[in-house]
Point group: C2
Chain length 188, copies 2
């Protein structure tokens, strides 16, 4: 193996995938559980990832990369920042499975992850501010709130899909409507 290789090795890929599967189902699962799901020995897991923290960090990096790629692809030809945000929302929901279990992990101490996460938030904030200029959002509403609302409504959408209360498309539409025009009905 002398050529530059950005891909994961075969075992690493299996372990990462198993990590998503197992930790999604149970965030406190053991490394033995992950190794078993991956079909590799526990020692092999340790050879590639020094410990639980390392594995979690690797999962986080992969998940964020996937998200980045999906958003990049989906918004490539978006006619506006506002539309780009809507498209992002749509694309994120099916991928949210792979992110949600990471939310409650203490990854703050891994600089690499923290930096990538911060950058993701910054990019969202930038898109929101650009959308504000388009009239897509009220400039009087703090960007921090809009970003937070996007994040949590994405989570809400993922939840209702998971519970079988809506299809991904329906959930995305509901989340976007909530952001854009709220849930108010007509006067009675």
């Amino acid at each position: 193996m002398r050529h530059l290789c950005l891909m994961l090795k075969k075992s690493e890929a299996k372990i990462i995938e198993a990590g998503f599967t197992v930790f999604s189902a149970n965030p406190t699962a053991t490394l033995a559980d992950v190794a078993k799901e991956a079909g590799v020995g526990r020692a092999t897991l340790h050879r590639h990832y020094a410990g639980r923290e390392d594995l979690m960090a690797a999962l986080a990096m992969v998940a964020m990369q996937e998200l980045d790629d999906a958003i990049e692809a989906a918004t490539k030809d978006a006619p506006s920042y506002t539309e780009a945000l809507r498209l992002s929302l749509e694309v994120i929901i099916p991928l949210a499975d792979r992110q949600m279990f990471l939310a409650n992990e203490p990854l703050d101490h891994v600089p690499e992850v923290l930096e990538a996460y911060t950058q993701q938030l910054d990019e969202t904030a930038e898109a929101v501010e650009a959308a504000k200029e388009e009239g897509g959002f009220d400039a009087a509403v703090p960007t921090a709130w809009i970003v937070q609302a996007i994040e949590t409504l994405t989570y809400a959408a993922w939840t209702v899909v998971r519970d079988g209360d809506a299809t991904p498309e329906e959930a995305a539409a509901l989340a976007w409507r909530t952001l854009q025009s709220g849930l108010t009905g007509g006067e009675k």
Copy 2:
């Protein structure tokens, strides 16, 4: 102690309060941490709560009761269901500290807690449906989504308050506006 007593004993109250404090800061804290914060011996904690699960369940019951009481008091004189939901949102945010760390606990196996939680959700759903009839929400939007949106926007509000990006009042207003009319601005 022969008279009927619905209050917690002194030690129990200290332990419960310590539980909120410690687990809010670190959801994986140990029972020893809780006992220390409470200023009681670890054995005493075990005398009152058989184990971690028992303690968590007790915390959940207390938190839900607090929430119930606060909502009951706040919405007592509400002129409508819609307004009652808005007032609830306001009241919940400062209390959210005491709930959030419980969200990721596997409490599903404690029937008592599960029942109380289900009832809370049902009550919210009922209020939402009543608000729909008032025109407060669009009847075409699924109640399940509205309930989920209320929950997650409450979480969003709590988050921005925690991060110092807004006062509780501001956050509550933003969350309610998002629900009611969205975040759209005028055309440019």
